[in-house]
């Protein structure tokens, strides 16, 4: 017999897990949609954000939440520095820019992971918080872990804020114009390099910020990034390639599928089910769950 409370808790878990994925997926979808980059380093920005939380939080009063704005600013700057190199290998007369970008970011990911492993060692580290401890019990539904609720809300807010920027501001219009046709945007006076750097900086900042939250929820470890890279790939396929709002739906679907499969089908089958969903979707609905993604 299905327990109502367990079902409620599983749905809560799934939705909040989906919120965590949204915090990672939004930036990944951004660089894919705007810069035409499949950034294999997305998970490593998560890892670096989590590590920043673990290292800096004790210095700022033992509260990981204080690291959130610092991580955004720090990794926005990191992104601004990295992007010109990425631009260099994906433009000019180089063949297959998408692949060049992917190989570059793959190397970047290995460099990031190796650097953290070398500097900080292999240990798992806690990102402390005194504010978001435990969960809020809601009778008849389940327990809402405070840190996961905040993470999910931040993830959705980040996406909404970025959508606003993209569709309601001059800067966002410029970025969309670059995405539409780089040469024409340049002819229209858009500073291509500047806006691409901003976009990549926002992506790195958002993803590292998500990493701080993920560190608060789980912990920080040098090897944690790869699974988030995999989930980011899943999410943009489910969302529909190039369709940013779909990230919320795909994140929530992934989270729910994972949670309900683990509880009602069997934990060992979770990834079988998730991969199965992706394969089936690619076969029958390649434009994504909402049917709004790009298909050639």
């Amino acid at each position: 017999m299905v327990s109502t409370e367990l079902l409620g808790q599983s749905i809560v878990n799934g939705l909040l897990l989906g919120g965590i994925y949204v915090t990672v997926g939004v930036g990944f979808a951004l660089v894919f949609g705007v810069l035409e980059i499949i950034d294999f380093a997305v998970g490593e920005y998560v890892m670096l954000g989590a590590f920043m939380g673990a290292i800096v939080a004790p210095v700022v009063g033992g509260e990981g939440l204080f690291v959130v704005p610092l991580a955004f600013v720090a990794f926005f700057l990191v992104g601004m520095i990295v992007q010109p190199f990425l631009h260099h290998v994906t433009t000019g007369d180089r063949p297959m820019p998408l692949l060049m970008g992917l190989v570059f970011t793959f190397g970047l990911a290995i460099f990031m992971r190796g650097s953290v492993l070398t500097i900080f060692g292999p240990n798992t580290r806690a990102v402390p918080t005194k504010t978001l401890e435990g969960g809020i019990d809601v009778t008849g539904i389940g327990t809402f872990p405070e840190v996961r609720v905040v993470t999910a809300v931040v993830g959705v807010l980040a996406l909404v804020a970025f959508m606003y920027y993209l569709y309601r501001t001059t800067g966002g219009t410029a970025i969309r114009a670059i995405a539409e046709d780089r040469d024409i945007a340049r002819l229209m006076g858009v500073n291509i390099n500047r806006y691409q750097s901003i976009a990549y900086g926002v992506y790195a900042g958002l993803t590292a910020t998500g990493g701080v939250f993920i560190g608060l929820i789980y912990s920080a470890g040098p090897g944690m990034g790869l699974q988030y890279t995999a989930f980011a790939f899943f999410m943009i396929v489910l969302a529909g390639l190039g369709y940013l709002p779909g990230i919320i739906i795909s994140g929530l679907v992934l989270g729910l599928a994972q949670s309900l499969t683990a509880v009602y089908i069997g934990g060992e089958l979770v990834f079988f089910v998730l991969f199965g969903m992706i394969y089936v979707l690619l076969l029958v609905r390649p434009e994504g769950l909402l049917g709004k993604g790009e298909v050639s």
Binding site: N13, E36, G223, P245
Partner: protein, 424 residues
């Protein structure tokens, strides 16, 4: 309204790029860390295949510390004595990258290119299971200072030995002790990671509960990267007295964090491996306190002492001086594996490099050896389900208490009172 941003890119491009990434990844997977293939006769050369990167890099690093400390100490003491002549020890590392097939490839190269005399084994059971057949094929002695899965010993590999008792023994005996604490538990929830070591651990925990007549509410295996809130939700809904979990450190930390977030509070958590490591304690901070674990060795235990390091305390002091942290039982067992080789080589009396015949003779000597070490007496079973596993070292339940310091609990003479039911 469609809000698509780009029209040029398409799914085909995306999949092509992803495929290339996979190819690059696979190409980057295999890799020897060791040096060249020149082989002089002035040193014993040991190959080490362990996980220096990947998910299990923490454990791999622990084994490396154990092997390195043995090498350093034996060389500082003049090397291995062969009929009055001393031969230093050289270690050549290969990174298994936490992947069995990579470990097997590395082991093959280690033997064919590096021409090692013997091999010190991987951290994980998965990789050990892949490496052991390579050792059989090449008739090369192989001692693991870490692997605990019973599946290794069930395979009856002639050339593979292990200094850590199989997890079937460690987890089961420790679990039985924890289940005997007062007030006696009436129910237990068993979870674990779906891998050879972790599954064997969880299975042994379940067996212990069943042997004690304690109700097993669930036996719940999951992938290592799962979100453990799902397991915690299921467990919480069944309200067990105790929660047992078989896995590695990462899953322990994630499980206990999820338990804290969902206000899940059984009388105690028992996680077999890694509770007494810095990674577990740093990963959980104050949340680690009260967790039960199991060990076969701790620095303050009375053990026979013996060759090279002296007592357990002496070994711990040497380890702290070298690495500035307390050694755990895996590190100790890894060093003990080296000590076993040292004694066996001295008995063999053959200078390096060893011939195939001498390697076979070395295997026979190891099989019959009884080695007194800081880790305890090491002897290997000569037959049965634990063939070539050292089952003579006694497992003990431990608990993290004040300042997250691990103490022995249970019925042993040296045991401290358990904090049970665990109070924060």
């Amino acid at each position: 309204m469609r809000e698509n941003i780009k029209t040029v890119k398409n799914r085909r491009q995306f999949m092509k790029a992803a495929g290339l990434a996979g190819t690059v990844g696979v190409a980057g997977v295999a890799g020897c860390v060791g040096g060249g293939s020149d082989r002089g006769g002035d040193k014993f050369k040991f190959g080490v295949v362990t996980s220096l990167s990947g998910d299990l890099r923490f454990g791999g690093e622990v084994t490396r510390r154990g092997y390195d400390l043995w090498k350093k100490t034996v060389n500082e003491n003049g090397g291995i004595d062969i009929d009055g002549s001393s031969y230093e020890v050289e270690l050549s590392y290969a990174d298994a990258k936490s992947d069995p097939s990579t470990g097997a490839d590395a082991a093959s190269r280690m033997i064919s290119s590096e021409r090692v005399d013997a091999v010190l084994g991987p951290y994980s059971s998965n990789v050990t299971l892949a490496v052991a057949p390579i050792m059989e094929k090449n008739r090369t002695p192989h001692i693991s200072g870490s692997a605990e899965s019973p599946r290794i010993w069930e395979q009856q590999f002639k050339h593979t030995f292990g200094t850590v008792p199989t997890v079937t023994l460690i987890a089961q005996r420790a679990a039985e002790e924890i289940l005997s604490l007062d007030p006696a538990a009436e129910s237990v929830y068993v979870s674990g990671v779906n891998g050879p070591f972790s599954k064997a651990t969880a299975s042994a925990m379940r067996d212990a509960a069943e042997n004690k007549g304690v109700e097993v509410l669930a036996y719940d295996l999951n992938p290592s990267d799962t979100d453990w809130t799902n397991v915690v939700s299921s467990a919480k809904s069944q309200d067990p007295d105790l929660h047992f979990h078989g896995g590695h450190i990462g899953s322990h930390v994630s499980l206990l964090k999820a338990a804290d977030q969902l206000n899940y509070d059984p009388d105690g958590f028992f996680n077999h491996y890694g509770v007494n490591t810095s990674s577990f304690k740093e990963g959980l901070g104050d949340g680690a306190r009260g967790t039960f674990g199991a060990t076969v060795w701790m620095p303050d235990l009375e053990r026979s002492g013996g060759k090279l390091f002296g007592s357990a305390a002496d070994y711990a002091e040497a380890a702290r001086a070298e690495y500035d942290s307390d050694p755990d039982y895996t590190q100790a067992a890894s060093s003990a594996a080296g000590v076993v080789y040292q004694q066996a080589l001295e008995e063999l009396g053959a200078a390096p490099p060893l011939s195939d015949t001498q390697k076979s003779k070395l295997v026979e000597i190891i099989e019959g050896a009884s080695v007194e070490t800081f880790y305890g007496d090491v002897t290997f079973d000569k037959e049965g389900e634990f063939y070539h596993n050292n089952t003579s070292t006694s497992p003990l339940p431990i608990q993290l208490q004040d300042d997250n310091k691990a103490v022995v609990v249970g019925s042993a003479d040296s045991a401290s009172p358990a904090n049970y039911p665990v109070e924060e």
